[in-house]
């Protein structure tokens, strides 16, 4: 798939994220829009995973630690054919499997997540199993920057380094905002690169909305043999919708009808400009 085709997919994913969040009248809008380009590149260019091989022990794994941005994951999984997209019309509805966090009841979801600080330890365990079994599959996990104060992340960072898990890649969706305000105000975790490097990780920083840069970063795994990989994806919360960008109120804000129409128009324009 070309960069242009992936960029077009990203716009389409953004439209669907908004559509289903509006339909559910619930969702994590800002974060889903900030991480969607990462998910797009992962599922369309990086991961060896599909509906056909999802039960194969040799598939790549993706574990979404920032589970609240499940809308981004669901629209990508639907696009990959894991389930009919129309299923998402039941998002957050009574008795639907499509709830506000990833659950294995939805085909394509690897682990039930939602509580923060859980993805990296599990991903480290899967990556360790691959090493023990001498298998080539890789494990990817997406972390929110706001979940990094959870100590379990740093426990797992030690384990990943200790066991030289260069088949593990963590991506931080570094949109620099969380529900209360900026990361810097809530609990300053900077400098993330130096912190992870000091824990023994190989770190790359990329523009998390630059499709080509993301492809190149993932393609260069392992960044350093014997070291776990970290991509700090610099992103914008609410990316793609001008009135949502960098605004913490869209953490889990749901657009009203006018805002939704305005957002869709903006995305239509973006599509023609690719």
């Amino acid at each position: 798939m070309t960069d242009k085709e992936l960029k077009e997919k990203s716009v389409g994913y953004r439209k669907k994220i908004l559509k289903y969040i509006v339909g559910a009248n619930a969702g994590h809008t800002g974060g889903s829009l900030s991480c969607i380009d990462v998910l797009n590149v992962l599922y369309n260019d990086v991961l060896n995973v599909s509906p056909d091989n999802f039960t194969s022990p040799d598939r790549d794994r993706y574990i979404q630690s920032k589970g609240h941005c499940v809308e981004a994951l669901f629209v990508v999984l639907a696009d990959k054919g894991f389930f009919p997209e129309t299923d998402l019309e039941t998002l957050c509805k009574y008795k639907s499997h499509y709830i506000g966090h990833p659950t294995k009841k939805v085909h394509g979801v690897e682990q039930n997540t939602g509580a923060l600080g859980h993805g990296l330890p599990i991903a480290a365990g899967v990556a360790l199993a691959a090493k023990l079994d001498k298998k080539d599959y890789r494990v990817f996990t997406l972390l929110g920057d706001g979940e990094l104060p959870e100590g379990s992340n740093w426990e797992a960072a030690l384990t990943a380094s200790h066991y030289k898990l260069d088949n593990l890649c963590a991506i931080i969706d570094n949109n620099k905002l969380q529900i209360t305000g900026t990361n810097a105000e809530v609990c300053n975790t900077d400098p993330l690169d130096a912190k992870f490097e000091s824990f023994g990780w190989a770190v790359k920083q990329v523009d998390g909305h630059d499709i080509h840069a993301l492809r190149e970063a993932f393609a260069s795994m392992p960044f350093e043999p014997g070291k776990p990989n970290l991509i700090i994806a610099h992103t914008i919360k609410g990316k793609g919708i001008s009135f949502m960008e960098n605004s913490v109120k869209w953490h889990h804000g749901v657009p009203n009808h006018e805002q939704y129409q305005s957002a869709m128009t903006e995305l239509d324009v973006a599509l023609t400009n690719i």
Partner: protein, 320 residues
């Protein structure tokens, strides 16, 4: 039914020693068995395991949340992960990982709580696990097993290795004599073992409290009271069929556990009995809702009446 073994202390081993020996034996022929430890291989008696099967032990260091998270990842990738840590830390510090990464995600980790209850004695409250039954009972999709003697321990470890669902096994440090030599009393999760038949009163215990319950039954016989003693090794799922039968056959029921009286074996039995219409004199013996008296394990248990004399006294009181 059930011959009480009166003098087997020479052969008695701590259940956690039997756990480690059994696991080593299984792991020698099953390369998917992985022991995951939190700087706990010494207290978990897994030093020999680490020496003989270094490729099958994963040391995490003192980080229980990560211990359980990593074990969940290993299990999801097909490994038979045994996450071994003192019960106090495993089931408190890593409770959210147990709830979400193991049970909710249905990753069949074998959680091994060692040095459980008040095994650590004078090390104090930080090292006691008197909450683990209660918190784990409130989580869906986990089997909670508390073996009483070396036989039950060996069987429980073998069953846990075969399990496709999350299991919690809880062990203490004290050498435990065999409860019975009756080979007809088998062992399976969810089925209580009647280790002594009586008829007047039922004593339902688990873990290291079954042995004093059995000794209490012997004392009661001297007073003409016949007690049935059950090792209710599995708290969840609870063997309600057996409880119903014993409630019908005997005049009173006592439960005994090395756990706080809140939320453990006793309350599980009480809940069933009351809701199923069995109205019998009933007493829960355990640690009361307080920080325990200081002392060794046996001193603490004796203080709260969890001893042959204490249990026998309680039986006489309940029957009168």
């Amino acid at each position: 039914m059930g011959t009480v073994i009166k003098n087997t202390s020479a052969n008695a081993k701590p259940n956690q020693d039997v756990f480690a020996a059994t696991l080593l034996k299984l792991a020698e022929t099953d390369k998917d068995i992985i022991a995951v430890t939190s700087d706990s291989r010494g207290s978990g008696k897994l030093v020999a395991f680490g020496q003989q099967l270094p490729e099958q032990i994963v040391e995490i260091g003192i980080a229980e949340q990560n211990l359980v998270g990593v074990a969940a990842g290993l299990a999801s990738a097909g490994k038979k992960a045994f996450a071994v840590s003192p019960a106090c830390f495993l089931t408190a510090r890593a409770l959210e990982q147990i709830k979400n990464d193991v049970c909710y995600s249905d990753n069949p980790v074998r959680l091994i709580g060692i040095s459980a209850g008040v095994s650590y004695g004078a090390l104090g409250t930080t090292h006691h696990s008197l909450h683990d039954f209660a918190v784990l009972r409130a989580i869906n999709n986990i089997t909670i097993v508390v073996p009483a003697d070396n036989f039950e321990t060996e069987q429980a470890v073998k069953l846990a290795a075969q399990s496709t669902k999350p299991v919690y096994l809880r062990f203490g440090k004290k050498p435990m004599p065999l409860l019975t030599e009756d080979e007809n009393i088998g062992f399976e999760f969810g089925k209580g073992r009647v280790v002594k038949n009586g008829g007047d009163i039922t004593i339902i215990a688990n873990g290291e409290t079954v042995y004093p319950a059995l000794l209490a039954a012997q004392k009661l016989e001297e007073s003409g009271i016949l007690a049935t003693v059950v090792s209710m090794h599995t708290i969840k799922p609870l063997d309600v069929t057996l409880i119903a039968q014993l409630a019908s056959e005997t005049k009173a029921i006592i439960t005994v556990e090395e756990h706080m009286i809140n939320g453990g074996l006793g309350e599980a039995c009480a809940s069933y009995l009351l809701q199923s219409g069995h109205k019998k004199p009933f007493k829960i013996m355990g640690i009361p809702d307080e920080y325990t008296v200081t002392g060794s394990q046996v001193e603490i248990l004796n203080h709260y009446g969890i001893s042959a004399d204490g249990i026998a006294d309680q039986a006489i009181k309940l029957l009168s």
